[in-house]
Symmetry: C2
Subunit: 271 residues, 2 copies
């Protein structure tokens, strides 16, 4: 399968939520170098149109391919749900989104065949999870819910107590009524709210974190030699954002689980 490939893995997201995907990747693949791009000057993508999200995604990918990445991970659910075809057409390296891996794990995990998906308005409206789940397993009954309040709750660190519990209860009531046994956390911010979501649904409902599923998929690509792994030794990490990086030390501690003191700032075109 040829010599090791020291080029980094590129990861982009609309902001800092994708750091939960980066976290899973780094835990799984400590030898790989990674470049993370957070488009914080345009965050969030979840409330914007497919056209605008695709345009921003192509630009993020162009920045990362200029960093000579060997593989691109689209760590943003909204971008994965609308921009993957355009990204795959434009790039020569493999492109992994977060939708298909999460859908695959959920389709396998469900015994009752009743699966729920929570995500941003953009992700839910795209129908991407619904299509990916049915492609895995045609007999699934799928209940979806857009949850626009969960991203600001997670970013503000408002992840336990009465407010997130009531918000979760309102969003999840139709899920409970539908009797789902598996819930896909279809947004990279939602793992931070895992506690309240799990509490509202009860212990009999399995929560599927797309970040973990995506890291599994990337690991499999490297193991199968579809992309050659890095040479032995520790991988490096660069974090780049399009707005000023002032809040990155704090937010990286929360989302990545390690404090990134020196994030770089880049002005992607005149955006």
């Amino acid at each position: 399968m040829g010599p090791p490939d020291p080029r980094p893995i590129g990861v982009f997201d609309s902001g800092v939520g994708g750091l939960t995907v980066l976290r899973a990747l780094r835990a799984r693949l400590p030898g790989e170098s990674m470049v993370y791009l957070g488009d914080t000057a345009r965050v969030p993508y979840g409330t914007k149109s497919a056209e605008v999200v695709t345009r921003y995604s192509l630009r993020n990918a162009a920045f990362l391919t200029a960093q000579d990445v060997k593989l691109l991970v689209v760590a943003c659910n909204t971008a994965s749900s609308v921009a993957l075809p355009a990204l795959r057409a434009a790039l020569e390296v493999p492109v992994v989104g977060v939708i298909e891996p999460g859908a695959r794990v959920a389709a396998r995990a469900s015994r009752s065949g009743k699966v729920g998906v929570v995500g941003t308005p953009g992700t839910i409206a795209s129908g991407a999870y619904q299509r990916a789940l049915l492609a895995e397993r045609g007999d699934l009954r799928i209940q979806v819910q857009a949850c626009p309040l969960l991203v600001p709750l997670a970013e503000e660190g408002w992840v336990s107590g009465e407010v997130p519990r009531l918000v979760a209860r309102a969003y999840l009531a139709p899920m409970r009524q539908a009797g789902i046994d598996t819930l896909v956390l279809g947004c990279t911010h939602y793992p931070l709210l895992r506690g309240v979501l799990a509490e509202e649904l009860g212990p009999e409902v399995a929560l599927v974190d797309s970040a973990e599923a995506t890291a599994d998929e990337v690991e499999a690509l490297l193991r199968r030699g579809a992309v050659r792994p890095a040479p032995a030794g520790g991988g490096s990490l660069r974090v780049v954002v399009t707005d000023t990086p002032d809040r990155i030390p704090e937010l990286s501690a929360r989302f990545l689980g390690e404090r990134v003191e020196r994030a770089e700032h880049v002005d992607i075109q005149a955006g």
Copy 2:
């Protein structure tokens, strides 16, 4: 004071929140034509840096001056708090922001001299309200609070009931403790949450809506002839957005109080 000036008044905001300012302007000045630009492809500004907000604001202003406006209203609190000097330096027409008018009304309204300001993280961090209030009245004691959850609550129409009440209670607790008698609603979305905010603070606290105060200021400029008013007859309205206008009919009904069925879409530079 010269012949009437039929040119429109230009209004921009990061998204749809500024429609509450447009609403106040149209109620006050029904004869004036208006062009509203909502930068919905980059919304929100409130969580972004001053540098990025200034860049976006200059672009929005350039679009509106190309529409030959006679006056520019910056209907976004975040943009008003960081970009006014740059806008005034760049433009030849008068520029009115929402901070100074709101601060003026609040400074006059307060008897106790204890004034509260709620706004986005960007607005509060800029210190613009604090400076404007102290410029009006040096003896004020000012309590500020960034309220990042209120914008998504207003946009989702979640404006009454337990969730917004608990969120408002958490944000306003320090205000109550400080004994304010006047609260500035320092974000164009907040008038939609006026009910729960007023309920939490009690009837003895006056709420100042910057939209109304700004419309007063624009009316005064026209009355004093600083800008010449339109000729007799009804003014026209154009609403332009940078993302697809799919949700504008619904959101304009909520924020503007009239349903704009045909908003235009414009792609401001390669943003």
